[in-house]
Symmetry: C2
Subunit: 111 residues, 2 copies
């Protein structure tokens, strides 16, 4: 698989201001279960330089199939467990979700 | 420089429908001058899978300084020459620009 091929998923995440440090902590201590998934290449967690706008979770895959396989996996649930729990807890308390996310997917056109 | 450090610039590019094939051609035949810039790591050109939304030009750098240095360089002008000319030509003919771009910059939080 060459650098000018492949599939990229970007999760655009908007955090409430007072959740940002927790969000960053979750990723800096992530379980790395995704790293063992077939077809996974690498990922980067990107923080907007001016502290405005979305965080980006960018993951690089061999194919759409590899990404979809991960999304349906136990590893996906396990990897998102703490974040999902934070959202559930906020809802239980009648609060707004501390973060919202939006997956967008891309074909690598070239390097 | 480790994978969990660095700087990322994403150029979000919106193309008019009839310009998309030209846009893709420009990148598939790019001069690769950027590849020789100090502090440049790699880049990927991403096409939205559903053909809606922005193309993303994602470039990975050692530091903000390396990125800024490239943006002020001859290589930057040379690398964008054909695209810039397309925009100039459209304006001369009183047409809308065939593409618009928006740079956003990010700190790598972790890998």
């Amino acid at each position: 698989m060459k650098n000018n091929e492949g599939y990229v998923a970007i999760n655009y995440i908007d955090c409430q201001e007072d959740y940002k440090s927790r969000f960053e902590e979750l990723f800096s201590t992530r379980k790395r279960a995704i790293d063992e998934m077939p077809g996974f290449r690498f990922m980067r967690v990107l923080k907007p330089e001016n502290n405005e706008g979305s965080y980006l979770i960018v993951s690089f895959w061999d194919s759409r199939e590899a990404f979809e396989n991960w999304k349906g996996s136990e590893a996906f649930l396990e990897g998102h467990k703490r974040g999902f729990q934070d959202v559930i807890d906020a809802k239980r308390q009648g609060k707004e979700a501390p973060m919202t996310s939006d997956f967008k997917t891309y074909i690598v056109l070239t390097d």
